[in-house]
């Protein structure tokens, strides 16, 4: 199971796209600014940023499991987001880091940024529940 992470309908509708992974390991997910991602006029909606963070979390965990040859389903248990800076009307990126993925639980950290990757606009942690894929 080494295929890339496939974005679900929600992420495609929001205009998200998975970028090729670089030396950091996990793939980044990008989203361009559009009216459908706008909250306060001229700024990204906090929920749209949250949705992007989550998608980057899914992508990071998918890549981590695939790299280790593990086939598992996973679903989010919870997410806690800190909003650090205003989301400007421009492309936003997010990338996750799997801190630990065991048999049943995975803990992932994700950050989102715009022009400067050292100045995140939002940061979050997510916990996932894992379950093995049943082989027929």
């Amino acid at each position: 199971m080494t295929a890339g992470f496939e974005l679900p309908p929600y992420a495609r509708a929001m205009g998200m796209l998975v970028l090729n992974r670089d030396h950091h390991g996990a793939p980044a997910v990008a989203m361009d600014f559009a009216e459908k991602s706008e909250g306060r006029p001229g700024y990204l909606h906090g929920g749209a940023i949250g949705g992007l963070l989550e998608m980057a979390g899914f992508a990071a965990l998918h890549a981590d499991l695939a790299q280790r040859g593990i086939e598992a389903r996973f679903k989010p248990i919870n997410i806690s987001i800190e909003y650090l800076r205003n989301g400007l009307p421009e492309r936003v990126f997010a990338r996750g880091e799997v801190l630990r993925a065991g048999r049943r639980i995975a803990n992932v950290r994700i950050e989102a940024w715009q022009g400067d990757s050292t100045a995140p606009i939002a940061s979050c942690w997510m916990n996932f529940q894992l379950s093995p894929v049943k082989v027929a």
Binding site: Y10, R40, G50
Partner: protein, 153 residues
Amino acid sequence: MSEDKTQGWRVDGPFDPEAAGKVLGSLGHGGFLGMRYGGHGTDWFEAELPWREELVGAGGNGVLASGPIISLFDNCTAMAIWTRRQRFVPHVTLDLRIDYVRAAVPGRSVIARAECYQIRGALAFVRGLAHDGDTSDPVAHAAGIFMATGDTA
């Protein structure tokens, strides 16, 4: 930090949660998600997120993505604050935590009710519950803090 949702309604005078809720579901991200005003009290605000295929998440089984549920909580909690303050004060989300208790049933609307349970100067403390028809069987819980960037006096 994000959100003060000033668009389209009077920002002076008493806050009208119902009028604001209708604007919220017609513009920007709230419009894309199709949020609908559901009701309010002195310190709470409710909105509905109708299910549609375009909002399905990564499970591949018709379950609503969790992203739109974050947005629903972000909006409802913000509205609950202005409802409690009885006026619009620009603010930003400091943090928001969501616990996904179970997957929403495919095809069903998700309804979120958020409450502003405490205001201390610029800080407003909020919590919320989302369900898909039965409040005693929630799909998610939320807790968060917003900080006013405008005059709260």
